[in-house]
């Protein structure tokens, strides 16, 4: 892929395109955050529903799994006649790919909440809604956030494909670099995507630790 006769990186090009880089990085983050947030909004009720009603679990995950297997580029092409070359088209694709991971982890997280904890909560007079928000969701958080981490990292990778319809964040650099045989852009896009993925992973991990202080406290004792 690397073009011959061209240096790997032209640093002066990078320093001359600072604002472009920031803009595309910003777009990449924006596309990712929207995709994961909307994915979560859709997955959460579906996950809770599937957790409570086992018969729903199979069809829901089958559908999410089916969407997941459609090649991303093909999905964009299918959507263009309907939603055009817009951010909506990219987001529909990106959101679809988060669903399987998120729903699975939400259900797995809720399944892991010990029955005796739910029983004692009910016995003390918590309503079903209070049990969900005050007991089940907090205790499922480690598994749910693990799902969000995987979904986020895979979305950061997928966003680059959006470059084919002009909404690809850092993917735009990669595509342009490929079209113009310009190594600097290819490497810049790829490296920044990877760095962004690492950052996202680290931030979410920190967030998870912050939200679930009891996990480390308890592990500390048994260790």
């Amino acid at each position: 892929m690397i073009a011959a006769g061209e240096p790997l990186i032209r640093w002066n090009w990078i320093s001359g395109h600072g604002s472009d880089i920031l803009a595309r990085l910003g777009e990449h983050i924006e596309l990712t955050v929207i995709a994961v947030a909307v994915g979560l909004l859709i997955s959460f009720p579906l996950g809770v529903w599937a957790h409570r009603n086992r018969r729903v679990y199979a069809p829901v995950t089958w559908f999410a799994g089916f969407v997941y297997t459609i090649p991303s580029l093909a999905l964009f092409v299918l959507l263009i006649p309907i939603t055009g070359l817009t951010i909506t088209t990219v987001e529909i694709g990106l959101v679809s790919y988060t669903l399987l991971i998120l729903i699975r982890n939400i259900v797995a997280g809720l399944d892991e909440v010990p029955d005796d904890v739910k029983d004692s909560a009910r016995g003390m007079g918590l309503t079903d809604r209070q049990i969900l928000w005050r007991v089940e969701v907090p205790l499922a958080l480690p598994v749910i956030i693990a799902g969000i981490r995987v979904a986020t990292v895979s979305t950061i990778g997928l966003v680059t494909v959006g470059a084919f319809i002009g909404k690809g964040g850092l993917g735009q650099f990669i595509l342009e670099g490929l079209q113009t045989f310009f190594n600097t852009e290819i490497i810049l896009g790829a490296v920044l995507s990877v760095v962004l993925a690492f950052f996202a992973e680290a931030i979410l991990l920190g967030f998870q630790r912050l939200l679930t202080p009891w996990v480390r406290a308890s592990v500390g004792r048994s260790a």
Binding site: P114, D116, V117, K118, D119, S120, A121, R122, G123, M124, G125, L126, T127, Q130, V135, P138, L139, T212, P213, W214, A217, S218, V219, G220, R221, S222
Partner: protein
């Protein structure tokens, strides 16, 4: 909150249920706090009824233990009281009101609930766990904090534990937090499902003792489920021995169940050593203490010999007024000496009125005598218990 006061349910004489005349609690009227009337529960997954036509009353301030083999329906019975399980038929009254006519959530907030695995919320600190129901009821922070402080003192919990998470506590500490949490809003009724089963025997015994002490002070109405008959005997005011389908084989104070098991099922369930277990429940003060042969330190030899002859013994208890000095026998007074001239020997077996007959038996057997002397805390002589008296108690 459910209204507890003003209940004028069926009053009856507890004396009628008390097989022992000598317990003599008199004819004080008691109030029924929990009443199950012809309660049945059918689970669609099984053929028979898990609970079949059960009727049971539990008095205010009483600790009633439901005991029986696993699968007998004891836990199902308990869980119907706070509507964690809905009865198929029949009625349940708590504090005089029909639980089926109450909002289950509010009903449960007014009833303490402790389960075997405790079920503390792992993601909340000990303080937050204890404060669960007060918070649900909207108590303000100061009131909650004051109550948590009270409960940590009551259950002898370290203040430092309050900021910890349940995962950082030992099994025994978790059980105590579970009890504290159930007591948080001072509910008149508590449901406890094998609350001490998950810890080792030494800690369990300690938790039981502590719990009994608290219950003596607080006088809650408690339904306590266990499969351990010894735990039931130790804790209960009354034990309901349940057969399959929650059929009540016998519902009586522990002493009566051990003395007069109502059926083969009950005898088998309470097991061997029934007599010894029963002796552990009766205190020396509960039985007739014999006066024994007694002489004052200032007494003459004739007085001493007369006391021995009358009692048919070869020894006599020597007292200084009402204080116990020891004993002397026939031969120690050879040569016509008066009592004061002989140095009395110490008794090997001494018990107090509060000692159990089991302890008395143990002391007598170990000291290789046939009697134990009973003295109070200030060494005042009360009388003697004999081995014969204890064996008579073993075979009623």
């Amino acid at each position: 909150m459910p209204e507890w006061s003003g209940f004028t349910g069926a009053d009856y004489d507890v004396g009628a249920h008390d097989g022992l005349g000598r317990a003599a609690r008199g004819a004080e009227a008691v109030t029924v706090m929990i009443s199950l009337r012809d309660v049945s529960k059918h689970f669609s997954s099984s053929a028979g009824n898990a609970v079949n036509n059960l009727s049971l009353d539990i008095n205010e301030g009483e600790l009633a233990v439901l005991v029986g083999p696993s699968g007998c329906g004891k836990t199902t019975t308990m869980r119907m009281i706070n509507r964690l399980i809905e009865p198929t038929s029949g009625a349940i009254f708590v504090g005089g009101s029909d639980v089926m006519k109450q909002d289950p959530v509010m009903l449960r907030r007014g009833i303490g609930y402790v389960i075997q695995s405790v079920g503390l919320l792992p993601h909340r600190t000990i303080e937050q766990n204890i404060a669960t129901v007060p918070s649900l009821l909207g108590w303000d922070d100061d009131r909650i904090r004051a109550r948590v402080t009270e409960l940590t003192a009551l259950l002898d919990l370290d203040d430092e534990l309050l900021r910890r998470y349940p995962g950082e506590l030992s099994g025994g500490q978790r059980q105590r937090v579970g009890v504290a949490r159930a007591l948080a809003v001072d509910p008149p009724v508590m449901l406890m499902d094998e609350p001490f089963a998950a810890v080792d025997p030494i800690i369990r015994a300690r938790l039981q003792d502590q719990f009994l002490e608290i219950q003596r002070r607080l006088k809650k109405t408690i339904v306590f489920v266990t499969h351990d008959i010894d735990e039931a005997i130790k804790l209960a005011n009354r034990i309901a021995i349940l057969n399959f389908g929650a059929k009540v084989e016998q519902y009586a104070p522990p002493e009566e169940i051990l003395r007069a098991p109502a059926s083969d099922f009950v005898s088998r369930f309470v097991g061997a050593e029934r007599g010894l277990k029963r002796l552990a429940l009766i205190s020396v003060a509960d039985v007739e203490i014999e006066p024994g042969p007694v002489v004052q330190r200032t007494g003459t030899q004739d007085e001493a010999r007369r006391a021995m002859r009358e009692a048919g013994s070869e020894w006599v208890v020597v007292l200084d007024r009402d204080k116990l000095l020891g004993w002397i026998d026939w031969w120690m007074m050879e040569g016509g000496r008066n009592v004061a001239a002989v140095e009395p020997r110490e008794f090997a077996a001494i018990v107090t009125p509060g000692s159990s007959l089991r302890t008395a038996l143990d002391i007598i057997v170990q000291s290789r005598t046939h009697i134990a002397v009973v003295v109070d805390g200030e060494n005042r002589y009360q009388g003697i218990v004999t081995l014969d008296r204890l064996t008579a108690e073993l075979r009623p």
